[in-house]
Symmetry: C2
Subunit: 374 residues, 2 copies
């Protein structure tokens, strides 16, 4: 029975104490708080608490405000139709947008910093399950997520199949690949090499390792984007009023794509905490549905949740063959959908028309699968 | 008439003063020295100076010692048969293995450092042409190179078609793509962010920006390797006796692929100068056969040198479509060859059997094209 009184007004967020979370590696994080958004259009006869629940899972630097990062997908009359569904999206454990993470106060009053444990994708799901328990939610019509959110969608379907009716992991794999770990661990190194990192305990200092995180973001962004799309937009163009072909190389004489990456780095510095970036990136490195379950394919084979898989044809971070691999091995596989786009991994954010069609197709299947509780 | 007396013994190197080099952007570098290796097996009746000349062009961190980095390709009876050809391979202008670059002494006795100008691929070819002039070489049977060496092979065929009989650019494009520039300019930023960089004038200091260059190398290496190959080798394996899944993330508890990247970074730190890395990477950013020639396709269309193109199917740095692009637009295109391999860009170094077959096919064509001088 959903505790409606605990839901924030539609489109806004609330923070709830979900209790202690014990990580896979055995560390107890006391009194974890999770921030979550709820979306439900009131102009309908079905009360929010009686509607099918869609659990949305955000990507690495996303947050609970899905109406911001997936604005074309969520709303009344949109693919995730807020006049029909109750949509909940929670900021992950380890994050920095309201949920407990390295920048949150430790019980001793100072920031967690380096004392925050290493967490896995499963630990994020554990915390989120505790949130659903607090909310009184015991049935999830569909769990949907892309990238790191897709990893959580997969883990949800393996950890708590009894409450999940259907799952749609997008642009993700059964486990981190060595290439991903290489790219991601390098990003962590860039942050650690920033003199302001201070071993992760910089929260009492006036400076943060934002430069290191900006460097990480430059590279990360290039793994999120297809080279065709980046080249279409920038090619070898110089940035306006700058000349990267001058007699001496100067870092203030840039190509247009350099300026674009500077903006991506700056935007992340404004809105994201480097400590969270490290913890969540490390969790991506640890992603492996097969750990402790007899291996990746055995784990997928035992999946009991009807699962549709989607991805982007030009994704270099989670290449298409990884989604084909999921399709071949999932125990209850209900379909594979491809976004065709030069954009690469970020296609799930950018190609609204195609993404919307995939969501609609998936939700039609989910509806057929979901029988009203008697 | 080749000045045989200026050639070093086969398999060894010599350094020659090639005179002043004026860069595309108008800076004069006085008294440029180029280091070059020559390869010619003596057990043949044709004197080295009368043999067809193969001009080999090395990649970014390569050098003139092609028998080291392309050992399967070069030697008596090998595809680049040193009993039939005279093979010359020169360290590039801007390099750090004997040729004039940022770490070389400026006329004032101190290192060039930040005073070394920005150079282009064309400037490297200009210097190399001056080397051939000093050596008395006025006919190149074949110019062959991969990656940055392929960019020079292309520029050779456009700048000096009158002396080039045939060209084989491998795993390269007509110009840098925005994605490449993004990756490459980020690597330059990592070096600049190293406190030991000192604006490029660190040569009198005990410390060098080797850490920054190591960070650049981690990322560069992942653009040189296919994710299939990296994953085949390392997957999610922990490094021996380390546990990256522990209760707290620790940078000394690594995945195997992290340790592998550490080794790649360390190896480069041992053998390469960060100032050269910056100058040569900047030259890659400036690569564009179309600059000042009416655009990329117009430049390629005017090419008068019979050119075969080769590449690797899984290359993410110079994707296969870029070699297809060259094939469609080169004015005297004689064939396209693909290395099929999970290795990515480095396939030209790793897939010896396939690379050897491509070289043999190309050299058979080159032989048909080359008429003995009367």
């Amino acid at each position: 029975m959903v505790h409606i009184d605990l839901l924030p007004p539609s489109g806004t967020s609330a923070i709830l104490n979900v209790g202690d979370v014990v990580t896979e590696a055995g560390v107890t994080i006391p009194d974890v708080h999770l921030s979550f958004h709820a979306f439900y259009d009131d102009a309908t006869s079905t009360p929010a608490g009686d509607r099918p629940l869609i659990l949305l899972e955000h990507a690495l630097t996303g947050d609970g405000n899905a109406a911001d990062w997936w604005s074309e997908m969520i709303g009344a009359g949109k693919p995730l139709d807020t006049s029909r569904y109750l949509v909940i999206c929670s900021n992950v454990l380890g994050g920095c947008q309201g949920s407990t993470g390295p920048s949150s106060p430790h019980p001793d009053g100072r920031a967690w910093g380096s004392r925050f444990p290493g967490i896995s994708i499963r630990d994020m799901v554990t915390a989120e399950k505790q949130l659903l328990d607090v909310l009184g939610i015991d049935r999830v019509h569909a769990v949907i997520g892309a990238s790191m959110g897709g990893a959580r969608a997969l883990e949800w379907s393996l950890m708590f199949p009894e409450i999940i009716v259907s799952a749609l992991p997008i642009a993700v794999s059964a486990r981190a690949s060595a290439w991903q770990i290489g790219m991601q661990s390098s990003q962590i190194r860039f942050i650690e090499a920033d003199p302001h990192w201070q071993g992760g305990d910089y929260y009492d200092s006036p400076d943060s390792p934002a430069e290191g995180m900006g460097q990480a973001r430059r590279i990360a962004h290039l793994t999120y984007r297809g080279e065709l799309e980046v080249d279409e937009r920038f090619g070898t163009d110089p940035q306006q009023d700058e000349n990267p072909y001058g007699p001496y190389r100067r870092s203030d004489q840039r190509f247009a794509v350099e300026s674009y990456l500077d903006r991506q780095a700056d935007k992340l510095k404004q809105r994201f905490d480097a400590g969270s970036y490290v913890v969540l990136t490390d969790a991506l490195n640890r992603h492996d549905v097969g750990r402790g379950r007899g291996g990746m394919n055995a784990a997928l084979a035992r999946s009991q949740v009807p699962t549709m898989v989607a991805g982007v044809d030009t994704d270099i971070l989670y290449p298409w063959h990884q989604q084909e691999h999921l399709s071949r091995n999932l125990g209850d596989f209900i379909g594979l959908s491809q976004i065709t786009s030069p954009t690469g991994h970020d296609g799930f954010l950018i190609e609204g028309r195609q993404m919307g069609q995939i969501l609609q197709k998936f939700l039609r299947k989910a509806e057929q699968l979901d029988q009203p509780s008697l």
